[in-house]
C-alpha cells in the first residue's frame, strides 16, 4: 500500500534543515512526499527540497491559492497511490520530530477509513490560546453534529483514501478557501457516502514562544481573525452538508 505525505509548506532556513534531518524517517512510512510552497519563497530552498528523489515540489501560483488542495492533487500524481496523509507543513515536521510514535499511530489509522480526521487529545487542545481554543470548540460542536460523531477539526492533519482524495479534487478547486476545507472536506465525503473516522493525537501541542507572541495571540485582532475563520469553516461545513459546496 503506497501512502504519500502531502504538505503545504513555506520553506525557511529553519524547516528545510529540519526536513533534511527527518527525511529518512519519513521514507520508512511513505512512498513519496508532495510539497506545495507559496510563490514568494527562496527558490534555492525549493531546489534543495526537489533534490530528494521521492519529493515533488510545486512552487505555487501567485495570489490566493488553496495549497492544501494543490498538494493533495500533486500527491495523487505519484504511482500506485493508495492513501494520502495531509498535514500543514511546519506541524508535520514538529510533530514527527517530537513524538514519532504518535505520528506512526496516526499513519497506521489512515488505513481504516476513507477520511481520517486527526484530532488533538484534550490535553493538547487545552494548550492552545483562548481565541483558538474557544472558536475551534464551536467549529467542533457544529461539525460533530453534522457528521454524527465527535471530532476535532483544528489540527491541520487528515488522512484520505485514494478514492476520497480523488473525490475532493473533482469536487473542489484550488480557488476554494484553505481553512474552509477543515469542515467542508470531511462533511462532503461523509455526505457522499465515504467512511469518516477520527483518531486523537498528542503531537500538536501549541507552544507560545515568548511574551510578545502570547500578547498577540490574546489580542482583539486575534479574536476577530479566529471568529471570522470559525464563520468561514462552519459555513463551508453547512454548505457541504447541503450538497452546495464545491463544483
Amino acid at each position: 500500500m503506497s501512502i504519500i505525505l502531502a504538505l503545504a509548506l513555506r520553506p525557511t532556513d529553519v524547516n528545510v534543515p529540519q526536513f533534511e534531518r527527518l527525511y529518512d524517517g519519513y521514507m520508512t512510512l511513505y512512498d513519496g512526499i508532495s510539497i506545495v510552497t507559496p510563490s514568494d519563497v527562496d527558490m534555492g530552498r525549493v531546489d534543495l527540497l526537489r533534490s530528494y528523489d521521492r519529493v515533488r515540489v510545486l512552487n505555487g501560483a501567485a495570489g490566493v491559492e488553496n495549497r492544501r488542495y494543490r498538494t493533495l492533487q500533486q500527491a495523487l500524481e505519484f504511482e500506485d497511490v493508495a492513501a494520502v496523509h495531509y498535514c500543514d507543513g511546519d506541524h508535520a515536521l514538529n510533530r514527527f520530530e517530537r513524538d514519532p510514535d504518535d505520528w506512526h499511530m496516526t499513519v497506521d489509522a489512515i488505513r481504516d477509513v476513507d477520511c481520517l480526521i486527526i484530532g488533538r487529545t484534550q490535553a493538547v487542545f487545552e494548550s492552545y490560546p483562548p481565541a483558538l481554543y474557544e472558536t475551534e470548540r464551536i467549529i467542533n460542536d457544529v461539525v460533530s453534529h453534522l457528521l454524527g460523531q465527535r471530532v476535532d477539526l483544528g489540527s491541520g492533519a487528515r488522512g484520505f483514501s485514494r478514492a476520497a482524495a480523488e473525490y475532493i479534487i473533482a469536487q473542489d478547486s484550488p480557488a476554494s478557501h484553505p481553512v474552509a476545507v477543515d469542515a467542508a472536506w470531511p462533511v462532503m465525503l461523509d455526505t457522499a457516502g465515504f467512511t469518516v473516522g477520527t483518531v486523537l493525537s498528542n503531537g500538536a501541542y501549541y507552544d507560545v514562544s515568548n511574551e510578545a507572541t502570547r500578547q498577540r495571540l490574546e489580542s482583539k485582532t486575534q479574536w476577530i481573525k479566529r471568529v471570522e475563520m470559525a464563520r468561514e469553516i462552519i459555513a463551508a461545513g453547512i454548505r457541504a452538508a447541503e450538497g452546495r459546496y464545491g463544483a
Binding site: 490574546e218 482583539k220 479574536w223 476577530i224 471568529v227 464563520r231 459555513a235
Partner: protein
C-alpha cells in the same frame, strides 16, 4: 377566527430603566392585557414596589442569571392565547422608540404558535462587532437547520399557550440562553407552527442603561466601539454564542 389575546413576559435585571418603564407603561397596556415580570430575588425594594403599583402586572422572583423560563410560566396564568417573551430592557427601548412596530409585532405573535423576532439589518448594525460576528455562528447553523435565514438571538419570542407549555415541559431551566434557539427548535419538533419577523425596534439596548431616555445612535455607536476594542468582550461573546449553539443542538437531539 377565534379571538386572541396576549400577555407580555419580560425578564429583567434592572439597570436604571424603572422610570422609563413607568413612563411608557400606558403604551404597553394598549398592546398587552397583562405584564409578567421576573426580577432577581435581591432586586431593589424601590423597583419591586413600583412594579407592584402597576396595574395588570404580576411579579416573580428568580435566582441566578435570568428568569426567562420562570416569567413565561407565570405568564401562562394570565389566561391569554399568546405570550410575547422579551427581555425587559429591549421591551422598554422598543416601546419608547417604535411603539407602532411593537404593536404590529404583538398582533403577529397571535397568528402562530411561535414567532421568532429578529433584527433588521439596520437594527443589527447598531450592535457591537463581537456580538454581531459571534451570533452569526448560531444564526448560520440554525438557519440551515430551519431552511430559512433568521436571527434567533434578539431576545424576543412569541409563544401560543400550547407552545409555551411544550417549551416549559422540555426546556431545562438551568441556562437562560435556551430561549434563543432551543425554544424554536422544540416548537418545530413538536409540529407546531412558527414564523419569523424582523424589527427595527430591537436595535441595541445596552447603551440605554441608567439613562432617562433611550440612547441615541451616537451613544450606541460610541459604546459599541468600546466593546469591539475589548478582547474580554470577544471572549465573552464567543462563549455566549457557543452556549446558544449547544442548547440548540441539544434540542435537536433531545428525546421528546
Amino acid at each position: 377566527m377565534s379571538e386572541t389575546s396576549i400577555v407580555v413576559a419580560a425578564a429583567w435585571a434592572p439597570r436604571g430603566e424603572l422610570a422609563r418603564l413607568q413612563r411608557y407603561y400606558p403604551r404597553l397596556q394598549q398592546i398587552y392585557t397583562h405584564m409578567s415580570v421576573s426580577v432577581p430575588k435581591d432586586a431593589d425594594a424601590d423597583v419591586i414596589s413600583a412594579l407592584q403599583a402597576l396595574p395588570n402586572t404580576s411579579i416573580v422572583y428568580y435566582e441566578g442569571w435570568s428568569g426567562r423560563h420562570l416569567v413565561v410560566e407565570d405568564a401562562l396564568n394570565a389566561g391569554t392565547t399568546h405570550i410575547q417573551y422579551i427581555d425587559m430592557d429591549r421591551l422598554i427601548r422598543w416601546v419608547e422608540t417604535r411603539p407602532d412596530e411593537l404593536q404590529q409585532v404583538a398582533e403577529r405573535v397571535q397568528s402562530v404558535d411561535c414567532l421568532t423576532v429578529g433584527r433588521t439589518p439596520a437594527a443589527y448594525q447598531t450592535h457591537p462587532r463581537p456580538l454581531v460576528e459571534t451570533e452569526a455562528l448560531p444564526n448560520a447553523t440554525f438557519s440551515q437547520w430551519f431552511g430559512q435565514q433568521m436571527d434567533f438571538c434578539a431576545g424576543s419570542k412569541g409563544l401560543s399557550q400550547a407552545a409555551a407549555e411544550f417549551v416549559l415541559a422540555h426546556s431545562p431551566r438551568d441556562v437562560a440562553l435556551r430561549m434563543d434557539v432551543e425554544w424554536l427548535v422544540l416548537v418545530h419538533r413538536a409540529g407546531l407552527t412558527w414564523d419569523y419577523v424582523e424589527a427595527d425596534g430591537l436595535d441595541w439596548e445596552t447603551a440605554d442603561r441608567f439613562k432617562d431616555w433611550a440612547a441615541t445612535s451616537a451613544e450606541q455607536a460610541a459604546l459599541a466601539a468600546t466593546h469591539a476594542d475589548d478582547p474580554a468582550e470577544w471572549a465573552l461573546r464567543v462563549q455566549v454564542a457557543r452556549d446558544i449553539l449547544l442548547c440548540g443542538l441539544n434540542a435537536v437531539d433531545m428525546d421528546l
